[in-house]
C-alpha cells in the first residue's frame, strides 16, 4: 500500500482490519472501509478499467459513483462500481469489457483507429449492401455492452417498505444536517438520507488542509442530529427518483423504502465537472474532489508530484489538501487571468507552490504504455475566448493532475418534480426558480457554496418547510453567493488532435459535438441522441453541463437558451431485484380445494381463481379424463365445484326495475321460484356477460354469472345504481357462497336421499328455484340446464360446501357419481348447445350475431345498449355464430378453436369451440360464418393447423338432438 498515508481524523477506513482480495489475477491488501478503487489506488494500481468505446485505460475520475469506466465483476455479479463499492475480504475481481485483461486489452487498438469512428458512425455504414449487415451487426453487438450477465445469479427478493414522514431531506452534508436539526426542533418526523456510507458530505473530504476545524464542524453537526429521536438518518441510501405527490424511493443494499413525505428538502449538493483538455482521461488525471476523497476518506495519496489545474478557487483548497497528504504540488495552473485563490493562494505561494494564472493544461502526457501521466503541457490561455496560446508552451513533469473547473447541481430530483430552473451567471449554474408545492432546495444545488451560507440556507429551507406545514417559523431569504463564481463558464481547451474528453462513459470529445452540430443535430435533445452524450450509466453527471456549454458556444447562444435535457429516474442505476422485490401473486381458493388436490385434480387459473379443470386417473390424458367425466354426467351423474361463479343479491322493491334496466330481458312479471336468463351489454351493444337471475322473493333476486366477469359486473351494478338511485340493495356474495352442481340421470335420486324437497322433474322443472335443506344445510337449489337437463345447482355458505359435497359423494357412490372439472363443463355445455361469453364471443360481438334475439326485449323503455342495438338491427349482419358437426366418424386432422372458416381467399369466420363428444360420437362445435351460411344444413370449410380443409355442417342444438 505504497500510497497509504498516516491516519488522519475522520477517515473511513478501519486500519485495524486488514483484508485481502484479488484484481485481474493479482493479490492486493486493503483496509476495511476501502472501496475497490481506493484499495487499488493505494497499491499503486493505476489502470482500473477500460473505456466503453475506445478501450482507453482509465483510473479515478470522481470517486463519487460515476466512474463507470471502472466496472468490475466478481464472477457472480457484474458492472460493480469500484469507486464506491466497499471491498470485502477474499473478493476475486476482474474488469469488465476487456479482451485479455485490463493491462493488455486487445481491443485497445480501437483507440488508434478512432478516426474511422466519427460521431454517429454506426448510422453511416454497414448497411450496404444489405446482405452484409448481419455480419457487421454481429461485430458491433459483440463490441457493445459492458459486463457479462451471470445466468445462474440467484433471484434476490429485496424488501420493499413504505414509510411516511413530515420532512424528507436528500443529502446529509452540512446543509442537509442543519436543515434536519432545524426541522426536528418543531417536533416533526424527519428522514434524512445520503448515498455515502457516512454522513457529512463535503466535510468528509474538502478540508483545505485544515483537518481540525473541518472535523469539529462535522462532529458538532452529527452530534446535534443524532441527539434528536425524531430524526432518522439513513446513510448508504440514495434517493432513486421523484414521483408524484412526494413519493421518493430510497434505495440501499437492504432494499427499497418508498417514502411518502409531506415536504422534501433537496440538499443533494453538486457534482464536480472536469475541465476538457487533451488526455484529461489518463489514469492519474482526476477531479480535485476525487483526490480529496482519496486523502481524507481512505488515507490514500493520489500521486507524488501533482499539477493542479483549476478554473475556480476550489483548486487552491485541493492543492492544500494534496500537500497535507504529502504530495508535491508542482504547480497550480489557473485558467483564469489575474490573481485569484485568496488566502489559499498566498498560503500556497509562501509554501513555494508555483501558480500559473491565465494558463491551462494543453494536454496531459502519457507514459509510454499510456497507463499513467508523466507530465503536463502548460501554455497560456485566453479564457474569454477559450483559446490556448501555444507558442510558449512548456512541460511540467508530474505523475498526476487534479482538476477543478466547477460544479453542476445534483438537481435530478428537482427536475423530475417539475422545478423551474434558471441559469444564474453569478455561479454559472442552473438554480431553482419555481419549486413545486412542498419542495425546497438548499446548499450547492441552490447555488450556495460558502460554508456559512450553506448552513444558513439549510436553516432557511427547513423554516420554509415548517411554514408550509403550518408552523410558525421565520421567513429568511436566500443569501446570494458573493465572490467569484465557483464554476468556470467555459473550461474547454481546444486541441487539433482531439482526445479531449467531455463524456468519459461514452468517449465523446469536443469535436464530436462540433461535427454533430454540423450534421444538423444542434438541438440539445438531438445532440444527446446523436452523440449519446449523457446516455451512459452515469447519465451525464459529469458531461451534461459541459455538453450544454459546448452547444451554446457552437450556436453562439447563452447557456439558458440551449436548455437542458429531460431528467428521468433513476438517479443511480437501480437493481431490478430492488425494484421488483417480493412479487405478490394473489389467488382465490374454494373451500373444496383440498378435496380437489386429494383427488388428483389438475388446476387451471380462471381470473384470480384456481379451478379444478379435470381429474385424470393415473396415466390418463386430459382428453380421456374429460370424456370419462362427461360420460358419467350423461349416463349416471357428475358433480362440479362451481364456487367461483359470480353471485350477487339484489334486494328491495325496485329490484326488478333495476334488472330490467341493467340486463336485456324482462323481470317484473317473473314468478318467485323461477329464474330467467340475464345478458349484460355495454353501451355499444357488445355482449359483456350472461347468467341467470333467480327470483327468491318479490323483492329479492339472486344473480349468478360467469367466473371471470363477476367482479366487473358487480362493479357496473354499483355504478348504475349510483346514477339511478333506485330503492335496492346490492350484496356481492361471490366469496360467501359456494356452488355445487350435480348433474345427470342419477342426480335426482342421489340428491333426494339428502333432502325433503320435491325434486320430481314435472313439479320442479328446469327454470325453477327452491330454497330448502340439503344434508342439513340451507341451500338455494336451482334447476339450471347448463350442462345437462337433469341438473341441480346448490348455492350455500362457502364453509359448508365440503359437508354437502361429501354427503353427495357418499350418497352417489353406488350410482357412479364422479367429480368433473371446468374443462369437462366446457364440453358438456357445448353438447347442450350453450355459447359462452368470452369463448364464443369476442370484444365486438353483439347479441344478433350469436342468435340471442330471444333474450333481447327491445320493447322495454330502456336497457344498457338498447339504443345501439336499434342501430345495429338496421345494419346487415356481419357474421353469425352457428352450431356445427363434422362428418360421422370423422378421422381427419381435428380442427382446433380459432381455426378459420375459409371460402377460397375469403375468411368467413372462425371456430370458437370444437370438441369430440364421445356421448354423441361426433365432432361438434360453434363457429362464426357469413350470414349466408347460417341455415341448418348448409356446409362450410374449416382450415386446420396444417392447412387441410375440413367440411362442417350447420345443425340445431342441443347437438344430441340431431
Amino acid at each position: 500500500m505504497i500510497f497509504r498515508i498516516p491516519k488522519k481524523d475522520g477517515e473511513w477506513v478501519n486500519r485495524d482490519k486488514k483484508i485481502s482480495f484479488s484484481f485481474e489475477g493479482e493479490t492486493f491488501s486493503a483496509f476495511e472501509g476501502d472501496t475497490i478503487t481506493s484499495a487499488l489506488w493505494a497499491a499503486g494500481q493505476k489502470v482500473l478499467g477500460r473505456s466503453f468505446k475506445y478501450h482507453r485505460p482509465r483510473g479515478v475520475l470522481s470517486l463519487a459513483n460515476h466512474d463507470v469506466n471502472v466496472l468490475v465483476t466478481d464472477g457472480i455479479d457484474t458492472n460493480i462500481r469500484a469507486d464506491v463499492v466497499e471491498v470485502t475480504d477474499g473478493m476475486v475481481l476482474t474488469a469488465v469489457n476487456t479482451s485479455g485483461g485490463v493491462k493488455k486489452d486487445k481491443n485497445s487498438y480501437i483507440d488508434s483507429i478512432s478516426p474511422l469512428l466519427p460521431v454517429g458512425f454506426y448510422y453511416k455504414a454497414f448497411h450496404t449492401p444489405r446482405r452484409f449487415f448481419p455480419f457487421w451487426e454481429k461485430v458491433i453487438r459483440k463490441a457493445a455492452g459492458l459486463g457479462v450477465v451471470n445466468f445462474n445469479y440467484p433471484r434476490i427478493l429485496k424488501r420493499k417498505q413504505h414509510a411516511h414522514c413530515d420532512v424528507l431531506i436528500i443529502g446529509a452534508g452540512p446543509t442537509g444536517l442543519t436543515a434536519a436539526y432545524t426541522a426536528s426542533q418543531a417536533g416533526l418526523e424527519v428522514i434524512i438520507v445520503d448515498e455515502n456510507s457516512q454522513a457529512g458530505g463535503s466535510l468528509t473530504y474538502n478540508r483545505g488542509g485544515d483537518t481540525t476545524t473541518t472535523v469539529k464542524h462535522l462532529n458538532d453537526l452529527l452530534a446535534k442530529v443524532t441527539s434528536q429521536p425524531n430524526i432518522t438518518l439513513k446513510t448508504a441510501s440514495y434517493a432513486a427518483g421523484y414521483y408524484p405527490d412526494h413519493l421518493i424511493p430510497i434505495v440501499s443494499h437492504e432494499g427499497m423504502i418508498k417514502v411518502r413525505a409531506k415536504t422534501v428538502i433537496i440538499a443533494s449538493g453538486a457534482f464536480e465537472q472536469p475541465p476538457v483538455f487533451r488526455y484529461n482521461d489518463l489514469p492519474g488525471v482526476m477531479l480535485g474532489s476525487a483526490a480529496q476523497r482519496l486523502i481524507y476518506r481512505y488515507g490514500v495519496k493520489p500521486f507524488n508530484n501533482g499539477v493542479v489545474v483549476t478554473a475556480n478557487d476550489y483548486g487552491y483548497r485541493v492543492a492544500l489538501d494534496l500537500m497535507d497528504a504529502g504530495t508535491k504540488v508542482v504547480a497550480v495552473v489557473d485558467m483564469r487571468k489575474g490573481i485569484n485563490g485568496g488566502r489559499d493562494a498566498i498560503d500556497l505561494g509562501m509554501r513555494g507552490v508555483k501558480i500559473y494564472a491565465g494558463h491551462c493544461v494543453y494536454e496531459a502526457l502519457a507514459s509510454s504504455d499510456k497507463s499513467s501521466v508523466r507530465g503536463a503541457v502548460i501554455c497560456a490561455y485566453d479564457d474569454k475566448n477559450s483559446v490556448a496560446l501555444t507558442q510558449n508552451k512548456f512541460t511540467l513533469e508530474c505523475d498526476g493532475i487534479a482538476m477543478s473547473a466547477g460544479w453542476a447541481p445534483a438537481a435530478a430530483l428537482l427536475y423530475q418534480a417539475g422545478t423551474g430552473m434558471l441559469f444564474d451567471s453569478g455561479v454559472e449554474q442552473f438554480v431553482p426558480s419555481r419549486l413545486p408545492a412542498g419542495m425546497f432546495a438548499a446548499g450547492k444545488v441552490n447555488g450556495i457554496y460558502e460554508f456559512e451560507q450553506r448552513i444558513n440556507d439549510g436553516v432557511r429551507a427547513a423554516n420554509q418547510a415548517l411554514r408550509y406545514l403550518g408552523f410558525g417559523a421565520p421567513q429568511n431569504v436566500i443569501e446570494k453567493h458573493n465572490g467569484l463564481s465557483p464554476s468556470h463558464p467555459y473550461p474547454m481547451v481546444p486541441h487539433e488532435k482531439g482526445k479531449n474528453f467531455v463524456d468519459f462513459d461514452e468517449d465523446i470529445q469536443i469535436k464530436d459535438f462540433v461535427n454533430a452540430a454540423k450534421e444538423g443535430f444542434d438541438n440539445i435533445e438531438l445532440m444527446k441522441r446523436f452523440t449519446t452524450v449523457g446516455m451512459g450509466p452515469s447519465q451525464g453527471k459529469h458531461s451534461n453541463m459541459n455538453a450544454i456549454r459546448i452547444l451554446a458556444n457552437i450556436r453562439g447562444l447563452p447557456v439558458e437558451k440551449v436548455g437542458t435535457t429531460t431528467s428521468r429516474p433513476f438517479f443511480h442505476p437501480t437493481p431490478i431485484g430492488h425494484l421488483g422485490g417480493r412479487g405478490f401473486h394473489s389467488h382465490r381458493l374454494t373451500s373444496l380445494h383440498d378435496w380437489h388436490q386429494e383427488h388428483g385434480a389438475v388446476f387451471t387459473d380462471i381470473g384470480a381463481w384456481k379451478r379444478a379443470a379435470y381429474y385424470p386417473a393415473a396415466g390418463q390424458s386430459r382428453d380421456e379424463a374429460v370424456q370419462d367425466e362427461a360420460m358419467a354426467v350423461r349416463k349416471a351423474a357428475g358433480i362440479i365445484d362451481g364456487s367461483s361463479f359470480g353471485k350477487i343479491e339484489i334486494h328491495g322493491p325496485d329490484a326488478a326495475v333495476f334488472l330490467e334496466r341493467f340486463f336485456t330481458g324482462v323481470y317484473h312479471n317473473q314468478k318467485v321460484g323461477t329464474y330467467r336468463h340475464v345478458m349484460l351489454l355495454d353501451e355499444s351493444g357488445v355482449i359483456v356477460d350472461d347468467g341467470i337471475a333467480s327470483r327468491l322473493a318479490d323483492d329479492l333476486f339472486y344473480i349468478s354469472v360467469g367466473t371471470s366477469n363477476a367482479a366487473a359486473v358487480y362493479r357496473e351494478m354499483q355504478r348504475y345504481q349510483q346514477m339511478w338511485q333506485l330503492n335496492i340493495g346490492l350484496v356481492n356474495v361471490t366469496g360467501a357462497f359456494g356452488t355445487i352442481n350435480i348433474a345427470g340421470p342419477a342426480a335426482r335420486e342421489i340428491l333426494s336421499t339428502l333432502t325433503d324437497l320435491d325434486l320430481s322433474y314435472d313439479t320442479f322443472p328446469v327454470g325453477h328455484v327452491r330454497e330448502g335443506q340439503v344434508a342439513g344445510v340451507d341451500v338455494r337449489l336451482i334447476r339450471v340446464a347448463f350442462v345437462s337437463d337433469f341438473a341441480y345447482e346448490m348455492h350455500l355458505p362457502m364453509a359448508k360446501v365440503p359437508h354437502v359435497w361429501n354427503a353427495l359423494m357418499a350418497a352417489g357412490a353406488k350410482h357412479g357419481l364422479r367429480p368433473f372439472g371446468s374443462d369437462t363443463q366446457r364440453l358438456l355445455r357445448l353438447e347442450m348447445g350453450h355459447a359462452m361469453p368470452g369463448v364464443d364471443t369476442d370484444g365486438l360481438t353483439n347479441p344478433f350475431e350469436v342468435g340471442a334475439d330471444a333474450s333481447i326485449k327491445m320493447n322495454k323503455p330502456y336497457f344498457i345498449g338498447q339504443r345501439s342495438l336499434e342501430i345495429l338491427a338496421k345494419r346487415p349482419l356481419r357474421k353469425q355464430l352457428v352450431p356445427f358437426v363434422l362428418a360421422e366418424n370423422f378421422k381427419g386432422e381435428m380442427p382446433m378453436d380459432c381455426n378459420l372458416v375459409i371460402d377460397g381467399r375469403e375468411i368467413l369466420g372462425r371456430v370458437t369451440s370444437v370438441a369430440y363428444s364421445r356421448f354423441i360420437d361426433r365432432c361438434i362445435g360453434f363457429a362464426y360464418v357469413s350470414p349466408a351460411k347460417k341455415e341448418v344444413g348448409s356446409e362450410f370449410q374449416i382450415r386446420t393447423d396444417s392447412g387441410s380443409l375440413v367440411t362442417a355442417r350447420v345443425v340445431i342444438t342441443p347437438f344430441f338432438k340431431n
Partner: protein, 413 residues
C-alpha cells in the same frame, strides 16, 4: 472496417453535410402542411415528394424532429396482428422497413430477431392460434409454437415463470424486428429535405383555419401559412389538433412507459412479449434491455414516470429471468398514446375537406411509420384513401364497423 468510413479519417474537416436544412420562418403558403415532425409526418413528406412529386410541403414540429413517440417507443417492428386488414397493413410496413436503410442510405440497424408472444393461459393460446391462422392466411410467417421451441430460442427464459404463470406456448413471428427509432425520423427528414420539403422545428401550430368546411390555412407561432391540405400526424397530441377544427374523435390519451437497463454483453437474441405478465423486452445493439409494459390505466396528457410501472414490470421480468436481480435499470420514460376503442389507427379523410388524420396509433405507431407515410401521402395526393387503410377510416365508428383488433389487445406492442 467499411471503406465509406475512411473519408472521415482522411478528411481534415468533418465531411458530412447537414441532415436537413434549418429553416426559420415558413413561406406564405404551401401545397401541403404536415403537423408533426415525427416519423409519420416526415415519412409522409418524403413519400409526397418521392411518389407524387409534391414538394411544396412544410413539416411543422413543435419541438425537435423525432422527439415524440418516435424517440420514445421500444422500436419493435412486427405484423402479427389479428385482423386481415391489420396484418396486410403492417406487413406492407415491414416490407418497406427491410429495404429502408439502403433507400435512405442511413443504417437504421433494422435487425430481424424473431418475435415470441408468450401464452400463459388456455385463452391466450386460443388468441395465439387465431392470430397465427389469420397471419398464415394473409401470407405472414407466424405460427403457434410449444415451450421447447421457445426454450431453444431463449434458453435463459424460466418457462414456469417462477411457478407463477407457466408458459403453455407462444405465437412465433419470424419477421419480428427492432430498429433505431431516431434514425427512422432522421432518415426520412433527410430524404424529404433533399427532395424539397421544408422542415420547421420549434414551430407550434396554434390554430387551423376552416372556411365552409374547407381547410384554408394554419396559424403558427411563426406566422400564418396558407394551405388547402393539412395532415395531422401528432400521435399523443391528436385531440388538441382535432379540437382546432371542431372534429370529434374517440381518441383518448394514455401514457405508455418504458425503461432500459445498463448495457450488458448480448444474450437475448429474440423479442419477447408476455400479455399476462405485461412485459415486452428486447436487447438493443448497445446491449441494454429495452422493456415496456401495458398502458397506464387512466387518461393523462403527460410523460411523467410512475414507480408502480417499473415495480410491476421488474417483478414480472424476474418471474421470466430470475438471474436479473442485480442488473440495474438506468432510465425510465414515457410517451403519450392515442387510444381508440378498437385498438386500430384512424387514418384518411375527415368530414373537413383538406384535413387528413394520421392518428389513433395507440402503442403501434413506430412499426407503421413507413406504410402510414406512404398511404397518407397517397391519400393527400389523390384526396382519396387507398383500400389498404379503408378499414381505419374515422367514419367506421359512426357506422358501427369497428375493426377486430380488440381481440388481440391483451398482447400488444
Amino acid at each position: 472496417m467499411p471503406l465509406r468510413l475512411l473519408k472521415y479519417a482522411l478528411a481534415k474537416d468533418h465531411p458530412a453535410p447537414r441532415f436537413f436544412k434549418s429553416h426559420e420562418t415558413p413561406k406564405k403558403s404551401y401545397d401541403v402542411v404536415i403537423i408533426g415532425g415525427g416519423g409519420h409526418g416526415l415519412a409522409a413528406a418524403y413519400y409526397l415528394a418521392k411518389d407524387h412529386g409534391i414538394t411544396n410541403v412544410a413539416v411543422l414540429e413543435k419541438g425537435y424532429i423525432g422527439g415524440g413517440n418516435t424517440g420514445r417507443n421500444t422500436t419493435i417492428v412486427r405484423s402479427n396482428y389479428l385482423t386481415p386488414e391489420g396484418v396486410n397493413f403492417y406487413d406492407a410496413s415491414v416490407k418497406i422497413y427491410e429495404g429502408l436503410s439502403e433507400e435512405l442510405d442511413l443504417n437504421l440497424f433494422y435487425s430481424t430477431r424473431g418475435h415470441f408472444t408468450l401464452a400463459h393461459t388456455e385463452s391466450a393460446m386460443r388468441t395465439m392460434r387465431w392470430r397465427a391462422e389469420v397471419n398464415k392466411h394473409v401470407g405472414v410467417e407466424s405460427r403457434v409454437v410449444g415451450p421447447d421451441e421457445i426454450a431453444k430460442a431463449c434458453p435463459q427464459l424460466d418457462l414456469s415463470c417462477s411457478g407463477q404463470a407457466p408458459i403453455l406456448g407462444a405465437l412465433y413471428h419470424a419477421p419480428g424486428s427492432v430498429a433505431r427509432h431516431d434514425g427512422v425520423a432522421w432518415g426520412y427528414a433527410r430524404g424529404a429535405d433533399s427532395l424539397g420539403a421544408e422542415i420547421f422545428q420549434n414551430t407550434e401550430v396554434l390554430g387551423i383555419d376552416v372556411k365552409n368546411g374547407k381547410v384554408c390555412g394554419v396559424k403558427t407561432n411563426k406566422g400564418y401559412i396558407e394551405t388547402k391540405q393539412v395532415l395531422s400526424a401528432v400521435a399523443g397530441f391528436t385531440p388538441r389538433i382535432t379540437e382546432m377544427v371542431d372534429l370529434e374523435t374517440p381518441i383518448v390519451i394514455h401514457p405508455l412507459q418504458a425503461c432500459v437497463t445498463e448495457p450488458m454483453k448480448p444474450w437475448l437474441d429474440t423479442i419477447l412479449v408476455s400479455g399476462s405478465l405485461h412485459v415486452y423486452v428486447s436487447q438493443s445493439s448497445r446491449g441494454e434491455l429495452v422493456m415496456g409494459s401495458s398502458l397506464d390505466p387512466y387518461e393523462v396528457h403527460s410523460t411523467r414516470s410512475t414507480l408502480d410501472f417499473v415495480e410491476g414490470l421488474t417483478s414480472h421480468m424476474l418471474d421470466m429471468f430470475p438471474f436479473l436481480s442485480n442488473v440495474k435499470v438506468v432510465r425510465q420514460w414515457a410517451g403519450m398514446a392515442d387510444m381508440t376503442p378498437d385498438f386500430a389507427p384512424i387514418m384518411g379523410k375527415t368530414p373537413i375537406e383538406g384535413f387528413y388524420l394520421d392518428a389513433g396509433w395507440g402503442t403501434w405507431g413506430f412499426k407503421a411509420t413507413p406504410i402510414s407515410g406512404k398511404t397518407m401521402a397517397q391519400t393527400i395526393a389523390n384526396d382519396s384513401a387507398p383500400d389498404l387503410i379503408h378499414s381505419f377510416r374515422l367514419s367506421r365508428f359512426e357506422d358501427y364497423e369497428l375493426t377486430g383488433e380488440k381481440g388481440a389487445a391483451s398482447v400488444g406492442h
